[in-house]
């Protein structure tokens, strides 16, 4: 009975509070998960370094605002550009040479890239946690009735929805997007039809990393401690979010992100005893999904060919 105390004592206001937290965390997961799902859709590989790209973006923002005193709006644009470039560089260095290699080699290379970024950040920026620059506009508390909400929690879902709409427009209504869809449908045929595969893949990484940068900035404002290993857990969870929604499917990634974010917050809210196991939740969901519906909620069902 004691176990359910959290559940029974929940008031309407605190439930609303948890919902807001859950939606904003879910939106962050969604933004980062899109990068995973796009890369997986095209290259059929997990970009392990994606979480660390998020971490690097946080450091870029820290350096822009705290060290070089650039106004936050310019910094954020710079961060997005720099992070997109970083993503493209990683693809060029770590993944392109292994285009025709066995899948395990690509996987190891991805792990290596992730590990290299973490250690590089640890070396360059020191392992001491730094605090993300405080921007009063976003970090102020807004009171609605009896619940208090940080402004950023309201901004995050809005930014996520705008980013998603822009992305869907790019993917569905531009030539680049058409090329991306063609490559993810059939790599070889797309190449034969004269699509420059390397450019498309670079573009995918650039878009994915730019979204990761947007996610990272908001992540930093919401959870201000920056460490070199900051990106690891969000990275794994966002990949899981992408799998839950159906990997390769952008809307699926967003759906998965929301499920995971809301689930995580609500479980801790209802069952405070389980708060230590919060990070395990995502993995348990992953196992369940892979067991019962390996292609995810929105994924197409495919059969394995010999």
């Amino acid at each position: 009975m004691e176990f359910f105390q959290g559940f029974l004592n929940m008031s309407g206001a605190s439930f609303a509070q948890h919902m807001v937290n859950g939606v904003s965390l879910g939106s962050l997961y969604a933004l980062i998960a899109i990068g995973y799902t796009m890369v997986y859709g095209i290259l059929l590989m997990i970009n392990f370094a994606h979480g660390d790209i998020v971490m690097m973006a946080c450091y870029f923002a820290y350096f822009g605002i705290t060290i070089f005193h650039v106004p936050w709006y310019f910094t954020f644009i710079g961060v997005i550009v720099a992070t997109a470039l970083l993503g493209a560089i990683i693809e060029r260095m770590a993944y392109r040479p292994l285009r025709d290699a066995p899948k395990n080699s690509v996987l190891i290379s991805a792990i290596g890239a992730s590990f290299l970024l973490e250690n590089l950040a640890n070396y360059l920026f020191s392992g001491r946690p730094m605090s993300f620059p405080d921007i009063p506009l976003f970090s102020q508390n807004i009171a609605i009735g009896s619940i208090k909400i940080q402004a950023i929690s309201m901004v995050i879902p809005v930014v996520t929805i705008i980013s998603l709409l822009v992305l869907l427009h790019i993917v569905n209504h531009t030539k680049t997007g058409m090329a991306m869809r063609a490559v993810s449908k059939d790599y070889e045929i797309a190449r034969v039809m004269g699509i420059n595969i390397d450019n498309v893949i670079s573009m995918t990484f650039i878009i994915g990393s730019a979204l990761a940068a947007i996610g990272a900035i908001m992540w930093g404002i919401r959870y201000p401690g920056i460490t070199p290993y900051l990106g690891v857990m969000p990275g794994l969870k966002c990949f899981i979010a992408a799998v839950i929604g159906g990997i390769g499917n952008i809307k699926g990634a967003v759906l998965g992100g929301f499920i995971l974010g809301l689930g995580e917050i609500l479980i801790v809210a209802f069952f405070p005893d389980l708060s230590g196991y919060r990070d395990a939740f995502a993995f348990i969901v992953l196992i369940i999904i892979l067991f019962y519906r390996p292609t995810g909620i929105l994924g197409e069902r495919t059969t394995e060919k010999v």
Binding site: K103, G112, F115, L120, F283
Partner: protein
């Protein structure tokens, strides 16, 4: 005829190496002994990882979790009973286990068996997955194991970790465990099970068509791998003298990944070589972490963290430019060694011609 010769030579080699470990134990200082021990322990875990990743072709990243199980079992059961109240000062130890004390060897075996049991439980859902999914799921489970250990305070002392584990910096002991592991895994790989593992690695569907029970063999490989990872983890715990959940972050698994990639996925002698190179190399690279003064000027590059940058760059370089590692899937065998000793130049020429 050849088999008999190989057997005798292997036995002689083992005896010689045991003698060497005896010598090392009595003559070398404790720092060098520690590195030798770490090499041997990493070799055990590298070998265990090679069983799943190299031979059965199932890319698993759960080694750190299985190590944690082994290390904690050893930690919990070998700390002397009278010291336990001291170690478990925040949350008292669970009365079920508070009075059980085991010798190290028994605790190692129990730890290995526990790890294998967990592997069995995990394996049922996880081994249906392939490639990337398997990697992320096993990684996830290794984190879940760690999270459970952090939260089960009455058994594991939570985030505080277990101190006062009787230290075991004995080269002979660890050498014997390594030798047993090596011999067992070598025998396993050359048995019908080993051939089944390789068949699964090459082509799952073809292997299934040939009558190999995929699930059974994958699960077996996974459990054996976990068993030895548990034993290796237990030895790691006794070598450190303390275990805490932070020691078993999944980045620990990357060490063994580098070992098997460098040594060659699917080569047990390669794993041994890889373990020695990586462990000794990581120690040697420590100079990069210390400030270096060259000709009176400080080289700004050298400061803490540089070692790990080099280490991860090495992993990258290895997989980008040298995908098959030192050995690939080949092995060092006695026939090859003898051929090499008879004609060192011709040996490589012949191999070159064959390729």
């Amino acid at each position: 005829m050849k088999n008999k010769r190989d057997l005798i030579l292997s036995a002689i080699l083992l005896i010689v190496l045991f003698g060497a470990s005896w010598f090392a134990n009595s003559e070398l200082d404790s720092y060098i002994r520690r590195i030798v021990n770490l090499c041997l322990i990493y070799a055990i875990i590298g070998l265990s990882m090679n069983v799943t990743n190299g031979f059965a072709g199932q890319f698993s990243l759960g080694q750190a979790g299985f190590m944690a199980i082994g290390a904690y079992t050893v930690g919990i059961f070998t700390v002397p009973v009278e010291l336990r109240a001291n170690v478990f000062y925040a949350v008292p130890m669970n009365p079920f286990i508070a009075d059980i004390q085991m010798p190290v060897w028994l605790a190692l075996i129990v730890g290995g068996l526990l790890a294998a049991l967990v592997a069995f439980l995990i394996g049922t859902p996880v081994l249906r997955l392939r490639g990337d999914y398997l990697a992320i799921a096993t990684l996830g489970f290794s984190e879940i194991i760690r999270i459970c250990i952090t939260n089960a305070s009455s058994f594991t002392n939570g985030a505080l970790g277990i101190k006062d584990i009787p230290p075991l910096n004995d080269v002979r002991y660890i050498f014997v465990v390594t030798a047993i592991t090596f011999v067992f895994i070598a025998a396993l790989i050359n048995s019908s099970y080993g051939r089944a593992f390789k068949a699964i690695r090459e082509d799952e569907i073809a292997a299934e068509a040939m009558g190999i029970n995929l699930y059974k063999h994958k699960c077996l490989a996974f459990m054996i791998s976990a068993f030895f990872a548990g034993i290796g983890g237990g030895l790691y715990g006794t070598l450190l003298g303390t275990v805490d959940p932070k020691n078993f972050l999944f980045t620990l698994t990357y060490n063994f990944l580098l070992i098997i990639v460098l040594g060659g996925m699917g080569s047990i002698t390669g794993s041994m070589l890889g373990a020695i190179i990586v462990t000794a190399g990581l120690e040697y690279l420590r100079i990069f972490d210390e400030p270096l003064k060259l000709f009176g000027t400080m080289i700004p590059l050298f400061r803490p963290g540089f070692r790990m940058v080099m280490f991860s760059a090495l992993l990258m370089a290895c997989v980008l430019f040298w995908r098959h590692g030192i050995m690939g899937t080949r092995e060092i065998t006695w026939s090859k060694l003898i051929a090499f000793c008879k004609n060192p130049i011709g040996f490589f020429k012949r191999k070159g011609a064959a390729q």
